[in-house]
């Protein structure tokens, strides 16, 4: 097991370097620059800017400098936000994204698994149909539609909750973003749980468990759920990584100072150090989450050995 983890961690390093190199190359290929704005800039001023930020140097020098930053895990200073370090930006925006993301994740798991399990246990019942209909709605309605609908109801007509902005953790302001964000995950998890559970409930070892006289509760909680959650686990690992590292649409919709908002802004601004920093961070998180999923498999399914 330890060897497996170490091996996976080692593979992670070249993967991330490739991701960063590709990102760096794509930023170069994209037309425009971080300094080009609404008004075109005179040539001489453009030259001053290029000189200031070392853009007049050969590409390998720039690449080397960038990689040096990455290897030291210090991503340098943002080009757009003068004097702000990329590490600082990530450090202050991550907690916001994580607070929203983690809350949405937990909510999605709780509601999704509960709904899914009950739907599976009472297959073809009213509850099953109702929850699966709800899940279908959740999957079909994208968050950029769900968000404004929630805002329209709870902020603009009922005046219960603020329509946007970050008010700290925990706060009333989190309710709508978390609901918006968790909607689709909730729906997926419910459907995955239901499917997984249905399959497991028909399997031999459940019949064995029942026949040896275990209570229904024990059968479900101890045996069925563990097997039934396998598809959920492989779905929620990467999902958690994306939720934690910021969700562009929801953060923009609710004007949250999270990582996702910075990510999209950095891409639009061609803010190279910030893009590289956030991409590296997301890549690392994603790879780590996949590793966690693999470890969780081993725990959930005794047949899996690494």
């Amino acid at each position: 097991m330890l060897r497996f983890v170490l091996r996976r961690l080692l593979i992670t390093i070249p993967t991330i370097l490739v991701v960063i190199t590709l990102t760096w190359g794509l930023i170069r290929l994209a037309p425009g620059n971080f300094y080009s704005g609404e008004k075109p800039i005179p040539k001489a001023i453009e030259n001053n800017i290029r000189e200031k930020y070392g853009l007049n140097k050969p590409w390998y020098v720039q690449y080397g400098k960038m990689m040096g930053h990455v290897l030291l895990l210090d991503f340098g200073t943002s080009l757009k936000y003068e004097g702000q370090s990329v590490n600082g930006i990530i450090a202050r925006s991550l907690p916001v994204s994580a607070a929203i993301g983690l809350s949405a994740y937990l909510l999605a798991l709780l509601v999704g698994i509960t709904l899914g399990s009950f739907a599976a246990l009472k297959q073809n019942s009213k509850l099953d149909y109702a929850s699966m209909a709800l899940a279908m709605v959740g999957i079909s309605v994208p968050n950029f539609v769900l968000g404004p609908i929630l805002v329209l109801i709870f902020s603009l007509t009922l005046y219960w909750l603020p329509p946007a902005r970050w008010y700290g953790f925990p706060s009333r302001g989190m309710v709508l973003p978390v609901l918006t964000l968790s909607g689709i995950y909730m729906a997926y998890i419910a459907r995955l749980t239901r499917a997984g559970m249905l399959e497991v409930l028909r399997s031999d070892y459940i019949r064995t468990a029942r026949s040896k006289g275990l209570s229904e509760r024990q059968v479900v909680m101890r045996h069925a759920l563990r097997g039934g959650l396998m598809p959920v686990v492989s779905f929620t690992g990467p999902a958690l990584a994306f939720l934690l590292t910021g969700t562009v649409v929801v953060e923009r919709l609710f004007t949250l100072p999270g990582l996702g908002n910075y990510f999209i802004q950095a891409s639009l601004n061609r803010d190279e150090p910030l893009i590289i920093g956030i991409v590296s961070f997301i890549a690392i998180t994603l790879l780590l989450m996949n590793l966690v999923v693999d470890i969780a498999y081993a725990y959930l399914d005794p047949r899996i050995r690494y």
């Binding site: 425009g32 609404e38 075109p40």
Partner: protein
């Protein structure tokens, strides 16, 4: 069975939505005259949606409007923008004098101005700030705005003077100027006449500044400047044998910050010498590029001087807290020279890049005012009749550039035809918040400016012109037109991806199709891509253009076409046009200057490298209790005049007037 449950579910949903609907009606009805809540905040705090996250708190660096608004709270320059007209009003300078041809300005600084750490502000602070703004190392995007200051362009571009080491004399510009281009010199370049003071003292009795060696330097004929980089210099010299011979064996002297035309005559007098007459300079001096930054703090902290922990400012407000991507909180600075007249205790500059979100926050009363252009088109029906909707012309125009370097638009008849084939008035009606434009300066902004008129909507004439240009247009049986010979593959309409641009492009496409029978393909590009394509003239046919004034003078628009590259974007350039503009700026009389400028504008319109479309509108909302915030032409506000009014009788019911 199942269908029954679905029916019940459906019924439930209908009931819930009905209930919500009735609630919504009730909530909306509480404030019929205004959009949403009108409860003033408990304290004198303005919560303002300012647009994107500010790039930096360093006024020399950023060029955006959100930053400009923040700098107006945190920093002051020699002068400030008038809250209504945006003309120069006293700030750090109590008064100023201008010489006869607007080529030299003397500012008299007040004695009571202080930095937020209590240090007094003097003329040296201004010198440091403007030299810093113009230095190549700071690489300010706005630096070009100060290029009228003597030698500042050369300094910003890293250029050199040429000195003869033997005689210690510098080569002069006039000795190498091309034949016929030598203009009459502005007064600031003529030798000083000791008998007649060149600047008459104002009625306040401030004596003209004494003559100094630096002043003599400014009043001597301009020195020759050459590019600083050897490569660029060699290229220039190789094309000019006369210059090459004169330069041989001479010494190149890098132009220093101390060479640019700003001088501290004494601790409280600043004299600025320009390289050309610029009557608009005093208004321009309110721009952020000219605002003061603290030398001691910058030298102590370097790049992190703008950290809220380190920053020292000089405006009516100072930084209290900066929650990135959320809000910047500024508070009243008690040591500001006019602190007693500052109306607000705090301003919260909030970030929002999403217009509907900003409107939502405004409606529920989480914010008191929003930045310009925030009301989405689809909301206008509801918001526009409200008394807190702010309408007003903006010093910004939308136009279509034509690439005159490529056929078929290199033919002026074709360009004119495409202009005449657009019903701009109808377009403005469909946009609802803008005014149709036929000239290249915004309409209704510059009082007294005799704005010329370009060609109006005339499809008949347009078709005739196309025929003359060799693209005959025929009428088909169903009444529509077609133009078989027009090379549609050689033109398209490029614009940056944005729904308003797309709407506009589609309208123009339909107009051309309807009136000329020509279908121009639309080409949507990501913003930065588009800007790059346009400035390099890589587009074919048409490209959208938007320009906002840098300062309140028609020249800020007309100047776009005074250089062939860069801002121009059309490839059209004409020496005669540049001469007309120069002549106008030399004129001492304001009205005469305006007339000459209008002549230049007419000349531009006749050459038709652009199709003017519309004058923008400010299009925002502010709560009626926010007073002193006017829908001015640039949407920048002198914050010290803004206050919260708690008496509904004194509220603004409708946009406050800009004229009284």
């Amino acid at each position: 069975m199942a269908s029954l449950y679905y029916r019940q579910l459906l019924a439930g949903l209908v009931l819930v939505s009905l209930a919500l609907g009735s609630i919504s009606c009730r909530a909306m009805a509480t404030n019929p005259a205004f959009f949403g809540s009108t409860t003033p905040p408990a304290t004198n705090i303005l919560r303002y949606i300012n647009g994107d996250e500010p790039e930096s708190l360093d006024p020399a660096v950023s060029s955006g409007q959100p930053e400009a608004r923040i700098y107006m709270a945190l920093y002051q320059g020699l002068v400030e923008y008038d809250p209504k007209t945006l003309a120069a009003i006293p700030a750090l300078a109590e008064s100023w004098d201008i010489n006869d041809d607007s080529s030299e300005f003397v500012f008299h600084l007040r004695y009571t101005a202080r930095w937020s750490n209590g240090d007094p502000i003097n003329a040296q602070d201004f010198l440091y700030s403007i030299r810093r703004s113009l230095s190549p190392e700071i690489a300010s995007k706005n630096a070009y705005l100060a290029y009228t200051i003597r030698y500042s362009q050369a300094f910003n571009e890293g250029a050199v003077f040429v000195r003869d080491s033997a005689t210690n004399q510098y080569l002069l510009e006039k000795d190498f100027a091309e034949e016929g281009t030598v203009q009459t010199e502005p007064l600031s370049q003529k030798p000083i006449n000791p008998d007649s003071p060149e600047i008459k003292p104002t009625e306040k009795g401030t004596a003209p500044a004494p003559d100094t060696p630096f002043h003599q330097f400014m009043h001597s004929p301009p020195r020759l400047t050459l590019p600083g980089s050897e490569k660029a210099r060699a290229k220039l010299l190789s094309g000019n044998p006369k210059l090459q011979a004169a330069v041989a064996g001479k010494e190149f002297v890098k132009i220093k910050a101390e060479d640019i035309g700003v001088e501290a005559v004494d601790d409280h007098t600043v004299r600025i010498s320009l390289s050309q007459p610029a009557p608009y300079f005093s208004g321009l001096a309110a721009h952020q590029l000219f605002r003061l930054v603290p030398r001691k703090i910058i030298e102590k902290y370097g790049d992190s001087w703008t950290d809220p922990a380190n920053i020292v400012t000089c405006g009516p407000f100072k930084v209290k807290a900066w929650k990135h991507y959320d809000e910047l909180i500024v508070e009243r600075d008690p040591v500001y020279w006019d602190a007693a007249n500052v109306g607000l205790d705090e301003i919260h500059f909030m970030v929002s890049s999403d217009n509907p979100t900003a409107m939502n926050l405004y409606k529920v009363g989480e914010v008191d005012a929003v930045n310009n252009h925030v009301v989405p088109n689809g909301w206008l029906d509801v918001v526009r009749p409200k008394k807190d909707y702010m309408d007003g012309a903006e010093a910004a125009i939308v136009y279509i550039l034509m690439n005159v370097t490529k056929p078929p638009l290199n033919d002026i008849r074709v360009r004119r035809a495409f202009n005449m084939a657009i019903d701009k008035i109808n377009y403005a009606k469909s946009r609802r918040i803008t005014k149709a434009l036929s000239a290249f300066t915004p309409e209704g902004i510059f009082v007294g400016y005799p704005q010329p008129k370009g060609d109006g909507f005339d499809p008949e004439q347009a078709r005739k012109l196309m025929g003359e240009a060799g693209f005959p247009i025929t009428k088909k049986g169903d009444g529509s037109y077609e133009c078989k010979s027009f090379p549609v593959a050689q033109v398209d309409f490029s614009f940056n991806t944005q729904s308003s641009n797309k709407t506009m492009a589609e309208f123009m496409q339909a107009q051309w199709k309807q009136n000329l029978g020509i279908t121009v393909q639309l080409k949507s590009m990501e913003f930065k891509t588009f800007m790059s394509v346009r400035s390099k003239l890589e587009y074919k046919g048409f490209a959208i253009g938007i320009w906002g004034a840098d300062y309140m003078d028609p020249f800020t628009f007309l100047n776009l076409f005074s250089t062939p590259g860069g801002d121009n974007g059309s490839g059209w350039w004409d020496k005669k046009y540049v001469d007309l503009l120069e002549e106008a700026n030399r004129s001492l009389d304001k009205q005469k200057r305006y007339e000459l400028m209008a002549k230049a504008e007419k000349y531009l319109l006749d050459a038709q490298p652009v199709i003017p479309i519309e004058t923008s509108s400010v299009n925002f909302v502010k709560k009626p209790y926010v007073k002193g915030l006017y829908p001015n032409a640039q949407s920048v506000y002198a914050w010290k005049f803004v206050y919260i009014e708690r008496d509904p009788a004194k509220w603004d019911y409708g946009p406050p007037s800009l004229s009284d």
